[in-house]
């Protein structure tokens, strides 16, 4: 059976996110072919107006229900209760969503204030996770599928004004000034 159907079945049955690399391993196909099949799957689910969509976060993919049907689905499954977000949490999540993955000093540079407790609290809530890639000897952090799910977006690229905020050169300028470590960060 074709690769797209295999991938769909795997994502459906395992009910968790998979990286492109892992999917390539599992199906014995190249990462490039897997990516192409996933892109095609995303498109056909959209075109068919399916109740299910393919969500993308970094290089990972997961099948989830479409936000438009949230009301009826919430009658049969319970989502983990997530209360409101405090302002510092919202701020950190927004910066990580648009600019992530970021190291902690990079996040602190944009927020202007130390953020270790905020990061820890967001990780305990499952809204932020540590990524494998390390920059300047520091771990990097990004938003999770749980965060995207709560917002009901297919990927961070569908967030409002994504291109503007992601690509803005001034952010890069601010971050570029980070080459020297902050003095005595606690």
């Amino acid at each position: 059976m074709n690769l797209e159907a295999q991938l769909e079945a795997v994502l459906f049955a395992a009910a968790k996110p998979f990286s492109v690399r892992r999917l390539a391993e599992l199906t014995g196909q190249s990462a490039k072919d897997v990516e192409a099949a996933l892109a095609s799957m995303m498109e056909s689910l959209d075109e068919a107006e399916s109740g299910v969509m393919l969500q993308k976060n970094g290089s990972e993919y997961e099948l989830v229900t479409r936000p438009e049907v949230a009301e009826v689905v919430s009658q049969v499954v319970k989502a983990e209760a997530q209360g409101e977000l405090s302002r510092p949490s919202l701020e950190a999540l927004t910066i990580l969503a648009y600019r992530g993955p970021l190291t902690r000093p990079e996040l602190e540079q944009v927020r202007g204030v130390q953020s270790s407790m905020i990061l820890r609290n967001l990780m305990i809530r499952g809204l932020v996770e540590e990524h494998e890639d390390v920059r300047l000897g520091q771990p990097t952090y990004a938003v999770t599928f749980a965060f995207l799910n709560h917002l009901g977006v297919a990927s961070i690229e569908s967030l409002p004004d994504y291109e503007v905020l992601r690509g803005h050169s001034a952010v890069s300028d601010v971050l570029a000034q980070l080459e020297e470590p902050k003095p005595e960060s606690v």
Binding site: G112, Q114, S116
Partner: protein, 247 residues
């Protein structure tokens, strides 16, 4: 200078600064930042609820603001260490964009149009039974547990480390005050010269500004491009300046 209005609760130095600029209906520019510098200091002075681990970040922004303000008055004044690091104006512009975006994210968060993942079928558990990880020994576990503990330790120490940092800033100011009193006369550049790190330069500068503000010292500049002379004020108040300082 009297505080002309009260800002709402603020979350960090850039948030405070942005609120001050917006309430004064100013654009974000070096000039408007300098305009709100003293209000910023007053708010930091009076705020009771700044967490100790964030206070140092407020002081860093305060120092940058006062430096910008001084530079508008004395263009010859250049301190390499205070020039380093992110430019506050750029930083604040970016911060403002993310604050706006975070309001939209908040609206989405509250709207309830969420996605659901597929429920886990309870069947799986029965199918698998016992599946121990291959090759893991009890010594591996001990090593992992040590790593976990090592990772927790900085979190436990965080409040203590913050207090230590603030205490060291207070000591620094006390030390500077003694230096000014004993030397009676010094200059602005001498004042900053001995500092080794950027933080130290900021602290020195803040200390000086505090002392000027509280009339402990007099500053005098003979010509526009001259260094600033600093001397102990003959009618310096008897009170300990630290009692009024904001650190």
């Amino acid at each position: 200078m009297a505080v002309t209005f009260r800002v709402q609760d603020f979350e960090g130095p850039l948030d405070l600064l942005l609120q001050l600029v917006e309430q004064e209906e100013l654009d974000i520019s070096n000039i408007s930042l300098a305009k709100v510098a003293e209000q910023f200091l007053d708010h930091v002075n009076e705020a009771k609820n700044i967490p100790p681990e964030e206070l140092a970040d407020f002081l860093v922004v305060a120092a940058k603001l006062m430096y910008m303000k001084s530079k508008l008055l004395l263009p010859s004044l250049v301190d390499e260490e205070l020039e380093e690091g992110p430019d506050l104006e750029t930083q604040l512009r970016e911060y403002q964009k993310f604050v706006a975006a975070s309001r939209e994210i908040d609206a989405m968060w509250k709207a309830g149009h969420r996605s659901f993942v597929r429920a886990d079928r309870p069947m799986k558990r029965v199918e698998i039974g016992f599946a121990p990880p291959p090759g893991v020994t009890s010594n591996d576990l001990a090593a992992i547990m040590r790593r976990v503990i090592a990772r927790i330790e900085p979190i436990i120490r965080l409040p203590k480390a913050s207090i230590e940092r603030i205490v060291s800033i207070q000591e620094k100011i006390r030390d500077l005050f003694q230096r000014i009193k004993s030397h009676a006369k010094t200059t602005f550049h001498t004042f900053l010269k001995g500092t080794e790190s950027r933080t130290e330069a900021i602290v020195s500068f803040l200390a000086l500004l505090e002392l000027v503000k509280q009339r402990f010292v007099l500053v005098d500049q003979k010509n526009l491009f001259n260094d600033i002379d600093i001397s102990a004020s003959p009618d310096a108040p008897e009170a300990d300046p630290l009692a009024h300082s904001f650190v």
